[in-house]
Amino acid sequence: MDLAAVMTEVAQRLDTIPGLRCSDHFVSDVVPPHAVVPGPEEYTYDATYGRGVDRMTLLVQAFAGRIVDKATRDVLGGYVHGSGAASFKAVLEAHNGSWTAFDTVRVVDVEFGVSTVGTTDYWVATFRLDVIGEGAP
């Protein structure tokens, strides 16, 4: 798979969520609500013989807002929800069958944490995506 193309296409798909800014690479500054596709956690070659299929775990980080703001909870809830217009899982998986840079994606799980950018503590949800696609592009 072309890693850059996969990251860009995932970010473009998330960009359809109303009010969400999206970046297909690491950024030095965020303006929440902001989704960043920083890259894969791991990339596994040779899921089949003959370079047929590769598989990767792709990360997507959602900077929902300042951790001390109650509104951040509501925004993050929409992204984490299993369905709905703001659901990362629903929005990404509904596009299965239409991706061009890879075959299919499943949003496996999400972890939560705090990330400090500058002097601001943001509540961040890190989604892990199971992506499978052609081994030899």
Binding site: D46, A47, T48, Y49, G50, R51, G52, V53, G97, T104, I132, G135
Partner: protein
């Protein structure tokens, strides 16, 4: 003497290259065994009989309705077709094994937390031809 990685394996069934859909396979040969023990022996004696063999293919399902494993394999179930197995991949001086096979059980599995998978059982039929690939 050196090793060979399985990712290089090439599998051709009825002239269809299934390699890109496979993540596991085996080549099994087993002869008939005849007990020829006679009086006076302390242990069993055996002699070989007819040859036999099988292959099981396993892999990841593909949605293609023309070139995916489901599209290729399901119409072949119950028929005898050619089978070529290249355990070290394709290349000059690499081994090749050819045999006719009865295409047996085709099975799909749908685990909730993983991709759709498939397996195909093949029964070797007749003589096995061992050869060395040319360039």
């Amino acid at each position: 003497m050196s090793k060979s990685h399985s990712k290089e394996t090439v599998v051709l069934l009825d002239d269809n290259d299934l390699s890109g859909f496979l993540n596991d396979s085996d080549w099994t040969r087993s002869p008939d065994s005849h007990d020829v023990t006679v009086y006076g022996e302390d242990n069993h004696l055996f002699d070989g009989g007819l040859g036999n063999g099988s292959t099981t293919l396993a892999g990841i399902y593909d949605t293609s309705t023309s070139s995916g494993p489901a599209a290729i394999l399901q119409p072949l179930v119950g028929t005898v077709v050619t089978f070529e197995y290249r355990p070290e991949g394709t290349g000059a001086n690499k081994p090749s094994r050819s045999v006719n096979v009865l295409v047996g059980e085709y099975k799909e599995t749908h685990p909730v937390a993983d991709f759709v998978m498939w397996t195909q059982n093949l029964q070797h039929s007749g003589d096995v031809a061992l050869s060395t690939q040319t360039a």
